[in-house]
């Protein structure tokens, strides 16, 4: 486990998501990256029905990189890292925290490795219709644990195949620059992006 940066990659008008994914993948392959399987990160949301925690949300996320773990993130930012059986506890809690129907969002696609880097190109799909929402690129630099120590290197690498859409660390990553990076931080970055995608698509349907 190293340091991970998750960035959104814009899809220009007139192009399909798949076309852009293909472009990114062929650039990586030209750089010498090798395919190393599929990945996915998914998120279900539960909303409180209890008076003692009104409108509270629990986001339950899974990352194929940590297959035995699930991450429960509250809207307060608290992230509980738990065994996979926590999923079943959420079912027990369904009278208090029912699922928000049609709110499932996930990013999945191809995983690549290239030297010390792991790159994942994910297509984000949302809702019951599994409609395409955008592209998230995840880059992990394995030998380092502190984001501040390797940010410039990661930025340079990412700009190499993504252009200038990565300029500064995200607000979340900025708060973690000089502390040890953990898998929960990757989940928080995905969640930030997922929230933005959901907001955008709900704004469109209204």
């Amino acid at each position: 486990m190293g340091v991970v940066c998750v960035a959104s990659y814009p899809v220009p008008e007139g192009k399909s998501g798949q076309q852009i994914v293909d472009v990114l993948q062929s650039r990586l392959e030209q750089l010498g990256a090798e395919k190393s399987g599929q990945f996915n990160v998914d998120c279900e949301t539960y909303q409180s029905q209890v008076p003692s925690a009104q409108n509270r949300l629990v986001h339950l996320l899974h990352n194929s990189e940590q297959p035995a773990t699930c991450f429960a993130v509250l809207d307060t930012g608290t992230c509980l890292v738990a065994d996979n059986l926590f999923n079943l506890l959420m079912l027990k809690l369904k009278n208090f925290y029912p699922t928000r129907k049609g709110f499932k969002i996930e990013s999945k696609g191809q995983r690549y490795s290239l030297g010390d880097f792991i790159i994942k190109i994910g297509s984000v799909t949302f809702g019951q219709n599994i409609s395409f929402k955008g592209i998230l690129v995840e880059v992990e630099y394995c030998p380092c644990m502190v984001p501040g120590d390797c940010w410039d290197l990661m930025k340079e690498f990412m700009q190499g195949f993504m252009g200038n859409c990565v300029e500064n660390p995200s607000n979340y990553l900025k708060t973690k620059m000089d502390i040890m990076y953990t898998p929960a931080d990757t989940i928080q970055q995905y969640l930030e992006h997922f929230k933005t995608f959901r907001k955008e698509s709900l704004a469109v349907t209204r």
């Binding site: 008076p51 992230c79 509980l80 065994d83 059986l85 999923n87 079943l88 027990k92 009278n95």
Partner: protein, 210 residues
Amino acid sequence: MESMLAAMNKKIVPLQEYFLQGSVLDASRDILLHRLRGICDNIGGIEKFQDHEMVYTIGTNANNVLQLRARRALDDPEAPWLLRYVGEPDFGDRSKHTLVRSSIDVGTSDNLVQFLTEMGFRLDHEFVVSGHFFRKGRMKITVSKIYRLLQPGDTDKVEALSKSYLVELGVVTVSGQDQVQEEMKNFAEHLKPLVHLEKTDLRKLQQMGT
């Protein structure tokens, strides 16, 4: 989530606890420990534990309350926290040798208390439990004493609840493994007359208490 449900349907998730309970007076504890050391598997090294358990509830309506237990090891601060759901014990009929309850055990990070509180759970009660544990095949045996906390949250100042030790024999496994009850009954026979592990009808105990 789908894979978890699939695993549940295939009955490979350990969700059921078969258990028996009994108690032994303080004065006889060492003889029982001696017997257990003799007949249980040799796990080498530490066999002691000291845990702090906090019981949280959510919901106001009496029929619609869910209880979860948060446990941490006081003697091993590095160990993960344990979040546990335990269902109502099922007494079953005479042909069944043990009590059965559903059980979900989840290891978690150390911010569990903050997480539960923010979710709207309230602390119902807490206690410290300390004692010895043993293993025999897939069975777990604990001999432990329960202490109440003199001040909320302060695990250093505790007072024993009784002059005896709680003895529990349990197996957490997938559902429908009724043959394990026979194994447990035979094991309990080996501990007689030091301790009688029985399936106790907890509802009757509660009625006696009120």
